[in-house]
Amino acid sequence: MRVDLAALVSAWPFLMTGLWFTLQITVVGVAGGIIFGSLLAVARLSRNRLLSGFATAYVNLMRSIPLILVIFWVFFLVPWAIGWFTNHGRPVAVGASLTIFVTFVLFEAAYYAEIVRAGFRSISAGQYSACEALGLSKFHSYIYILFPQAIRNVLPILLTQTIILFQDTSLVYVISATDLLGAATKIAQRDGRLVEMYLTVGAIYFIICYAASQLVKQLQGRLSYGAR
Amino acid sequence: MIEIRNVSKFYGAFQVLKNCNSSIARGEVVVICGPSGSGKSTFIKTMNGLETIDSGEIVVGNFRLAPGVTNLATLRRTVGMVFQNFELFPHLTVLSNVTIAQTKVLRRGKAEAEEKARSLLARVGLSAHLTKHPAQLSGGQQQRVAIARALALDPEVMLFDEPTSALDPEMVNEVLDVMTSLAKQGMTMVCVTHEMGFARGVANRVFFMDSGEIVETANAAAFFDHPKSERAKAFLAKILKH
């Protein structure tokens, strides 16, 4: 087999466009996932049975099914859902990007919710009582006192989940989106250069994820040192 | 039975054992004492190869241990060991703890191993607990199982590394009683311990260690009544106050 470096060089800009989209999905997934996930976590801890029941069911459902299946669900259902509200029930064409952003927020939120919930449980019960004793409202207690502590306690797990999310973005391949892997696939098929393209994107994913996981490991060391 | 010649050991630049020499006869009971950090635990663990040595040699029976000697199977059969934290295997029953090395290391038959285990456990007073797991026993009971486990391989020498220091005070004696009766039956024993009553009553000789050196060796009565070195005097003054 002959490796064609020139093909790689000419493909590089397109690969970077794909990587840019991969990063966009990651950022949206992380930001939206943590916000929605935190709401789910708070809902699960709520005394309102209906609220906590819904949150629990949602999290367990999402964690039981494959991400690819969720991508398909959203891909087929979002056009209907939007059409239902705006277009007298007829489906509306929706771009792949929107489908993907919605999917990742909905899906990753379930995973972040469990992590944030573990964070809340790691806070001593005294903190909750202290908030009440100070007369802080529920909302203020969570925003200023509880949430920051919860996040700090689970920061390494949160970041590790984010690396997993970054890897999961490659699954948007199933609806032919042009993320890093999608870009590589399109060039690979056009030029018949599967080997070079897939080895290259494998290396790019590896470098990013390995570097990130080493950073998390360092942070973990520093956090546990600070706790001593 | 045990010859220790010019044994030294380093942790990096730090010398934990400094040119140790001694000899222990068959049937002798030796107590090693000294302040914490004096290297006595490391010293006793060199005698069955759990700690490697950097120079010198140790001869146990027919086995010669020197730096770089790696096949320790014979040595491990000759020497039994009891640990400070018992180190029973928590996933096995009391009976299995005592049979597993017999069947898997010595390849004894199951029936023979169990019979041996039952008689040893009876000897340490634990016949009623054969099917329990270690976590269901008190510390003193666990340590007695650990002694039975080591004896099951018919060792010629028994090493005890602070066997009572992890125990609640009221359980110390039940373990010391087992050790005393073992000594009376003629077992060669090396014990790192702070139990001075045991040392005085049972040991033939006491080795006093400090800073990785064997500072003094004397018969037990002489050591307690007339310690020769200043360091031994200071150590005895300190522990006898308690």
């Binding site: 398909f72 890897q167 599967l194 994820c209 996981s213 | 190869g49 269901q136």
Partner: protein, 240 residues
């Protein structure tokens, strides 16, 4: 759910048959890959705890490689890239395997080795959580390395990691869906095919979603039973 009992366009059966076939491939792939993952993962986890030599480093390279590349990219590696890198005759033989084996075998190897890296990390963590004295006690009793790991250390380490292993076991069923990208018609691919044939999206994906939920429930039950059976008297769960 009437959809399930309607005839498929090829006239060979009902959509229910498609679902059953998809489910069977999902289960075969998950359980086969789990077996590979347990064996390889335990071996790699064990060698990572060796004190020195080349083996712990090989173990580390294995874990970092398989953990830091997306599963889908690894799927493509086994399916598209490897046959090209092998000698032409072997490469051709792989490419000409009859369907669905041509997809199933690479997917099995891929998912097995991918999950093995994750299990290896758990096994290593479990082994390192044991008191140092356990290995010393095993040594003092004359166990060789193999006996020490098999009889003394691993049974304890596995008890410690059972809860995380449960999570991993549930994950492997979900990860089988990635095999649809190399042409294995497992459960998710079946839903997509039914949808393409009938445009009855809700029913097609709904049935499959419920099946995944049931799989998760059963997988959890199985592991829960194992956890109960492995629990030691006198010790709270989750500890050795």
């Amino acid at each position: 759910m009437s959809l399930l009992f309607e005839a498929t366009p090829d006239g060979a059966g009902r959509y229910l048959d498609w679902i059953i076939s998809g489910l069977a491939w999902t289960l075969c792939l998950a359980l086969g890959a789990w077996t590979i993952a347990l064996v390889v993962g335990t071996l790699v986890g064990v060698i990572r705890t060796f004190p020195d030599g080349i083996l712990p480093r090989i173990g580390r390279v294995y874990v970092e490689t398989f953990r830091n590349i997306p599963l889908l990219v690894q799927m493509f590696f086994w399916y598209f890239v490897l046959p090209e890198l092998l000698p032409a005759r072997i490469g051709m033989a792989i490419k000409q395997m009859d369907p669905p084996w041509g997809s199933f075998v690479p997917a099995l190897i891929c998912l097995g080795l991918f999950t093995a890296a994750r299990i290896a990390e758990q096994v290593r963590a479990g082994l390192q959580a044991l008191p140092k004295g356990q290995a010393q006690a095993a040594n003092a009793l004359g166990f060789d390395a193999s006996g020490m790991y098999r009889l003394i250390l691993l049974p304890q380490a596995f008890r410690i990691i059972l809860p995380t292993l449960t999570n991993e076991f549930m994950t492997i069923f979900k990860n089988t869906s990635v095999a649809l990208t190399i042409g294995l018609v497992e459960l998710t691919a079946t839903a997509r095919e039914i949808n393409e044939n009938t445009f009855r999206t809700f029913e097609a994906f709904g049935v499959v979603t419920i099946i995944y939920l049931l799989i998760a429930l059963i997988a959890w039950q199985v592991m829960h039973r194992i956890e109960q059976a492995a629990r030691l008297p006198g010790i709270a769960s989750g500890k050795a």
